[in-house]
């Protein structure tokens, strides 16, 4: 059973439940954060949104919630944990993933379809993904940053899962929508079972939405 946790201010929760439940026919439950018990689930997804109105800093208040203690336990047990957009911000704020997400370099909210290249083989979530996927992004604080030593570790451990690329598959300045360090769009923990990504796979799950590449990322969740 997959849990999608809803915090006050989550707003992509229903989309995620739709993609996993209605499209992929997985058993999925939308759970209010106060009622979340990790032991009842095999997988947990932190959906996008503006938890607690982004007060103080995106994701930081949710990061200190009791629900996230449960999520941390699940991660230790090796269960898959996926954070999308604000969910990624929560994962970096808890320290479950390294680095942080800063304000976009253009200082504006960016909402558009982008192309991702799979760069990391370690992540459980990238197993079914071909080399490239097209999915939308929609965020104001998505510029991934980490210090030099941290970046080296990510590279050495094969933890960088997705990078922003152009149509030809090249990591360029133009294809980087938010100024992320090294065009990073998504990373995982060294074990590969915890992944955070800024793009929204759940918004690319049906042709009517403009594409369904996102399913290739969500497909591994059972």
């Amino acid at each position: 059973m997959i849990a999608v946790i809803r915090f006050p201010g989550s707003n992509c929760d229903m989309d995620m439940v739709h993609a996993l439940g209605d499209v992929l026919k997985r058993k999925v439950k939308l759970v209010w954060h106060r009622e979340f018990k990790g032991g009842e689930f095999d997988v947990v997804v932190l959906p996008g949104g503006f938890t607690y109105g982004d007060h103080l800093r995106a994701g930081i208040i949710a990061a200190f919630s009791p629900a996230m203690k449960e999520v941390r336990e699940m991660a230790k047990e090796g269960k898959p944990v996926l954070g999308v957009c604000n969910g990624f911000q929560i994962l970096t704020e808890t320290g479950m993933l390294p680095g942080s997400l800063l304000r976009n370099d253009g200082l504006n909210f960016v909402c558009k379809w982008i192309r991702l290249k799979k760069t990391g083989g370690r992540s459980l979530f990238a197993r079914k993904v071909e080399d490239f996927v097209s999915v939308p992004i929609a965020h104001n604080e998505g510029r991934y940053f980490i210090d030099e030593k941290g970046l080296r570790e990510l590279e050495q451990n094969d933890q960088i899962v997705f990078k922003y690329v152009d149509a030809g598959g090249n990591e360029t300045y133009e294809s980087n929508p938010n100024g992320s360090l090294s065009n990073i769009a998504g990373i995982c923990n060294p074990e590969g079972n915890v992944m955070g990504m800024m793009p929204h796979p759940e918004r690319a799950c049906e042709e009517i939405l403009g594409g369904k590449d996102g399913l290739k990322i969500l497909e591994v969740l059972k």
Binding site: F7, P8, N11, Y52
Partner: protein, 243 residues
């Protein structure tokens, strides 16, 4: 006159006449709000009266938070339009953002789920730095509020003409959908009815925001700008929809 109100002298006289006495400060405050341009549309009412409001498919007409029409197969759609001209003229970002906040509340208030926003914006000449400033931040306010609650602004129009230089027009609209049998109407008419007021925490900066719409804008209006706009209500939105 004990309380400071934005009602005209004539309106104040009418209040005393209806009540048959001098209202107290709280009453003045309430009447000031309910009779404000923002809440009662006193100047636009004669024009609004010309619009068609009756029909087979009209489920909820004028007088409630938003209008509801039957769209068939057991579903209904509701719509709301609001102007936020005065607040946007002195504080474009907070002014337009709270316009979205107001209309999304009116969709939610009927038990419906909000799905989209529209806007119709009118500014002075694009060559004027003042209008450029208003344009940039009004658009940002509408966009940011929508992004926060996960509802897109799907269409709109914008016009630039020097006649709007000192009085920009900021109109926003929202629409949502609801099962016909799940429409909720908020009224408590009988004694003993329970009124529940739900919402996020707010600051003092909104006090007199509504009655501000009744005033005429002048060069001193800038002094009325709130110091710390707090408008993010996304958590309230989620809480209203734990379906």
């Amino acid at each position: 006159m004990t309380a400071q109100v934005d009602l005209t002298a004539e309106e104040q006289k009418q209040v005393r006449q209806i009540l048959g006495r001098e209202p107290n400060e709280v009453e003045w405050g309430m009447i000031d709000i309910m009779w404000s341009e923002h809440c009662s549309y006193k100047s636009s009412r004669p024009h609004l009266a010309k619009l068609p409001t009756k029909g087979e498919r009209v489920l909820v007409g004028p007088g409630y938070d938003s209008g509801v029409v039957d769209i068939g197969k057991g579903w209904a759609a509701n719509f709301k339009v609001e102007t936020h001209n005065h607040p946007s003229a002195i504080e474009p970002y907070g002014g337009s953002a709270t316009g979205i906040g107001g209309i999304v509340r009116d969709i939610l208030a009927l038990g419906a789920y909000p799905v989209g926003f529209l806007d119709s914006l009118h500014f002075g000449s694009l060559n004027s730095p003042h209008s450029q400033w208003l344009f940039r931040y009004v658009v940002k306010g509408v966009a940011d509020y929508g992004n926060c609650i996960g509802v897109p602004t799907v269409a709109g129009e914008v016009q630039f003409d020097k006649s709007f230089e000192k009085n920009c027009l900021v109109n926003v609209a929202s629409f949502g959908f609801v099962r016909k049998d799940k429409i909720v109407q908020g009224y408590a008419k009988a004694p003993g009815d329970v009124l529940i007021l739900a919402g996020g925490s707010t600051g003092r900066d909104g006090v007199h925001g509504v009655t501000f719409a009744s005033r005429t804008l002048d060069e001193n209006s800038e002094m009325d700008r709130p110091k710390s706009p707090r408008w993010r209500q996304s958590s309230t939105n989620t809480n209203c929809h734990t379906r």
